[in-house]
Every structure is written in C-alpha cells, then in structure tokens.
C-alpha cells in the first residue's frame, strides 16, 4: 500500500534552510582584542568562516625604517606583549648576527633566563585565558597570580613590568641585580605550586576536558604545510623546537625535553604549554647554576655599546662616541640576515636588510601568530559555533605580532 503522505513529503514539509550569517568580533571578549570572524552557519555548524585580522596594525615595519637600529627595541616589545623579553632578545640576536658580534657568556645565560621567564608568563597567560574563556575563572586568577611573580622579577631587573625595552645590540641595558638568582629560585617554586593547583581544578573537570578533547584537530602534516611553529605544531606531534634543533645562546648546553602531543587537538595544545612551563623551569634552574656572578654583560665594542656615563661627561672621546651612537645610530654592515628564535608561540624570525647606515633599510618580522591564525579557518570549519572559543583560545593569538 502506498504511503498517504507522499505528496507532502516532497514539498510542503521541507523547511527552507537559509544559511545564517554571523559576525564575531572584533569587539568580542573571546577574540583577544582584535580578530573578526565572519561566519556562515547552518544551524549551529560552521559552513564557512572568514578570519579577518589587521585591526591592531600599527605599521611596525614602516616605523622601524625611520629610526636607528637600537630604536627598534621598544617596538619589538610591543609585538608580543605577553612575552616582550623574547622579542627583545630575538631582535638583538638578529642584529648581532648581522654585525658578527658574540655577546659574553654571562649575558647569554642572562638572556636565556629572562627569556624563559617571559616564556613562562606567555604560557601562563595563554592557558589561563583559555580556561577563563570556558568559564573557569578561578584557575585564570591563579595563573595570573603566578604571572605576577614573573613580572615582579622582571620589574626588579628591568624597571618595567611589561614593556621592558631591555635588550641592547651587544648586550643588555643593565647587568643582573644581586638578588636575581635568589628571586628566580624562589619564584619558580611559587609558580609551580600555583600552576599545580590550577591544573587540578581543570584537568579533572569533565566539562573542561569535553570541550577541548578532539576539538580543533590539526594533523602534523597540515600544520607543517600551514607554517605552524611552536607549541601548536608540537601539539600536532612534530618535535620542532628551535632551541633543540638549531640552538642559539646556550641552549645546547642545558638539558631539557621537547614535549610533543599526539592528537593535535585543543587539549594537547593546552597540555603542551603546561609541560613546557616545567621545562622552562628546568632550564631556569640550570641557568642560575651556570651564570657567573660577575663579569661583563656587554661586548667591549665601542661601535655598538654606549660608553659608561662617567666617561661621557669627562672625556671628549666618550662624548663623541655617545653622540654618534645616539644621533646616527650604530652602523650595521650592509647585508641581509634571517635570524630565528623560539618565542612563546613559535618561530620568531627577523629578516633584516642593512645598507650600511645607522638606520635599518628593512626590518621584516616573521610573527609566529600570523601563520597560526592563518590556520584557524581550517580548524573551525565544520565544527560547532561554541567550539570557536576554545579553539581560538588554544592558538594563543597575540594581536600585536599577528597584525604587525
């Protein structure tokens, strides 16, 4: 017998389904300030996504072409504003590579220690913010409390909490303070306690895990193709860490592991950062044992390093040298160089072109976030609307460096 509702099934009962357009950001609490995602939804599933960046574009590369080489440091600070020290050191290393300068050993250890502290602050911010965006506010407060400890140490060292401008070509702005090692040793223990407490709240929480596990999966092959680096790439199972594979500073002399994820989902990216925190602490411990308590921090090279203040005020040579370095800038030999370091989010590259003058001809920054955010569209297409928040959070996009 024929079904009675044959005709109805074909026509009237079919509800017309029009795709819904939704605009997410740039003013959205989970968009880390400045990303706009235009979505086409079918029900709650994302059919198409267009990720638009650039809302925080400040013309970093153009500004660098106007001052001296040393005047880039404050700009570099403001690229990744949760780990500015790593940018400072990355840029300093790039210019030093172009000048063929090797900083003294004590400075190398010092830079490593400051860099690892910044990395801890970066990962704490990232994991904490991710938890907060999923509604877990307490762990966020604890992680921020732990970050406070890092910032207190950095404030003691550099005088500034966030934008230190502490790197110099051929050294650092100041030698380590007397209490530095003690502060770091004590701070690391406190941070670890706070992180462990925060972890306990999150990693046994069914809601938190369910929202992260198997969401936003990126395969290792795709991640490499997209140019992902750093924790996000390692979460996909590729052990690419510049500190290990192409060591700079003294990273070849310290012992640390490169944590690698399996699935490449949000949970892996979250866990990798927590694992890297502990590796950073391990590196910090070794550095504080190896760093000498006295000795020069800056290279003895009058071409790039400012003379001591008492010489500037008492000798004509010192005055002239100071004047030339400030007014004309340190002369960097003509040429081009690409220098890369492991920043909080991955490979931070500086491609510098010099025409031999005191002003950079071209400063090109390769921000790790840019490529990572470029993969967001692929990650969220096909998932649910609510998956955007944890997925985007796990990438740790930093507007400052992503938008240049």
């Amino acid at each position: 017998m024929e079904p009675l509702d044959l005709e109805l099934e074909e026509s009237e009962l079919e509800l017309p389904a029009e795709p819904m357009h939704l605009n997410m950001g740039p003013s959205h609490p989970a968009m880390h300030g400045t990303v706009r995602i235009v979505l086409e939804l079918s029900g709650e599933t994302i059919v198409k996504a267009d990720v638009q960046i650039g809302h925080l574009h400040r013309g970093f590369e153009k500004m660098c072409e106007r001052g001296t080489w040393a005047q880039v440091f404050p700009y570099a600070d403001r690229l990744n504003y949760v780990s500015p020290m790593l940018n400072n050191v990355g840029y300093a290393l790039a210019v030093e590579k172009l000048c063929d300068i090797q900083v003294p050993e004590r400075c190398q250890w010092y830079r490593m220690m400051l860099g690892e502290l910044a990395r801890i602050s970066d990962h704490l911010t990232s994991t904490g913010a991710m938890a907060m965006e999923l509604g877990a506010f307490t762990p966020f407060l604890w992680f921020v409390k732990a970050r406070e400890i890092v910032w207190d140490i950095l404030e003691e060292e550099t005088g500034a909490r966030l934008t230190h401008s502490f790197g110099r070509i051929g050294g650092m702005a100041a030698p380590p303070t007397k209490d530095f090692k003690e502060l770091v040793r004590g701070g690391v223990v406190q941070i670890l306690t706070l992180v462990e407490e925060g972890e306990k709240l999150l990693l046994k929480n069914r809601i938190f895990i369910d929202r992260l596990e198997n969401v936003g999966v990126m395969s290792g092959k795709d991640a490499i193709g997209l140019g992902w680096t750093g924790p996000c790439l390692r979460a996909s199972g590729v052990a690419y860490d510049i500190r290990k594979l192409h060591p700079y500073l003294k990273y070849d002399e310290v012992d640390f592991d490169v944590p690698v994820g399996k699935n490449g989902d949000n949970l892996d990216r979250f866990l990798i950062r927590l694992a890297e925190l502990r590796q950073s602490m391990k590196i910090l411990k070794q550095c504080s044992e190896r760093m000498a308590d006295d000795g020069p921090v800056n290279v003895d090279d009058p071409r790039v390093i400012l003379p001591p203040k008492n010489e500037v005020y008492t000798t004509i040579e010192g005055t002239i040298q100071h004047f030339k370095l400030i007014m004309e800038g340190a002369k960097v030999p003509a040429g081009e160089v690409y220098s890369y370091t492991e920043a909080g989010n991955g490979e931070l590259g500086f491609y510098l072109v010099s025409d031999g003058s005191g002003t950079p001809y071209r400063v090109r920054i390769r921000p790790p976030c840019f490529q990572i955010t470029g993969g967001l569209q692929q990650l969220i297409t096909g998932t649910m609307l609510s998956d955007i928040v944890p997925t985007f959070g796990s990438l740790n996009m930093i507007g400052g460096e992503c938008d240049h």
Binding site: I53, M63, G227, V337, Y338, R362, R364, F370
Partner: protein, 202 residues
C-alpha cells in the same frame, strides 16, 4: 648549512639562478621571476630538498634600482623555506616590477604550501605585488578602502588617509531610521550619521 641545495638548484636551473651567496650562513639564491613557480615546486618535491615548511614571505623595496635592466625589478620578493625532515633552510629571492611597480606580479605558490596564502596577501597588501593564481587575493592588514601600499619606500610614513564616511540613505537602500540595530548616538561604523535638522525629509 645547506649549500648542497644551492648546488642542486644551479645544476637544475642553471640559466634561472642569477646569483647565490651564503652570507652569515643563510643560503640565498636570486632567481628570475618566470622560474619562481618551477623552482618552488622543485624545492618542495625534490627528495634531497624537501622544503615542507613555508616560513616567510616579504617584499623589500628598492625604488632607485628600478628600470636598470640587468639589476632586475624594483620590488624584491624574499621567501624563506625550511625542511622539517632535512633540517635545512634556504632563502629564495626574485625581483619584479618597474619604477612605477607596473608588472609587479608573480606566480602564487599557495597550492604548494597552504601557509603561503596569508603571506602572499600580506605582501600584496603591504608591498603591492600581485600573485597570479592566488585563490583569495585581497588586503589582509589594511582595510579595503586603503589606497597605496604602505611598505613602498615612496609611501610617506606621515601620510594619513581620510576616514571612511558613514553609509548614506541611498547606499543603504532603506530609510536610515530602519537600519537596525544601532542607534545614531552609539557611533558604530555601520550605523548612521548623527541626526540633524537638515536630514528631515522634505
């Protein structure tokens, strides 16, 4: 580092490799724009090169050199590649465009490395190089109405561009009062202009 890659390139594309150097340990090859795509494909697919990671792409502007035939074009496009299997790097450069940036186009390599997608958009946006075959070539950092390309050396750093005006009634196609959902005093860019007496329909 990987001078073997440079040797291999010279062997395979003898006529297209214009110069090579390894200053500061960065292996660099400057190639002709016409061979950009072929060399990219070679670097990706050759077993000895296997450059699977697209690191960076940028443009460096040399306005004074434009027009000099043997020196190539004005805009130098620089690509950095890395191989996660062979652990080596290479820098590939080419020069395009004449003095007025005419003819500044290059083949897109997005189909070889998906990561090139956004970077090519950025070079297009900032330096004004058009990538042929790019799936979605539009500005990425600047807004669509922006005129010019900021990283050209002849773009003045102090130059400002006018704000984008609000939509008028003609453009919106509906009476401004009907434009949801933002009120005029909220100042949203896609809202409407503040209401004045002159706007009163006659």
């Amino acid at each position: 580092m990987s001078e073997a890659v440079l040797a291999k390139l010279k062997e395979t594309f003898a006529a297209d490799i214009l110069e090579t150097h390894s200053d500061h340990g960065d292996d660099t090859a400057r190639v002709t724009p016409a061979s950009w795509l072929a060399i990219s494909e070679f670097l990706r697919n050759d077993a000895g090169c296997d450059f699977d990671m697209f690191i960076d792409l940028c443009g460096v502007d040399y306005p004074s050199r434009g027009g000099v035939v043997d020196a190539g074009g004005r805009m130098e496009v620089v690509m950095h590649l890395y191989s996660t299997t062979k652990k080596h790097r290479v820098r590939l450069k080419t020069r395009v465009g004449d003095e007025d940036m005419a003819g500044a186009d290059l083949d897109s390599v997005t189909h070889i490395w998906p990561g090139a997608n956004w970077l090519e958009r950025e070079v297009y946006d900032m330096s004004g190089v058009t990538f042929k075959g790019h799936p979605d070539l539009r500005r990425i950092l600047m807004y669509p109405e922006f005129e010019g390309h900021p990283l050209l050396k002849d773009y003045p750093a102090q130059r400002t561009q006018p704000l984008i005006p609000y939509r008028t009634e003609d453009e919106a196609g509906v009476p401004l009062e009907k434009l949801p959902p933002f009120r005029a005093d909220e100042g949203m860019s896609f809202g409407r202009r503040p209401f004045t007496e002159t706007d009163e329909p006659s």
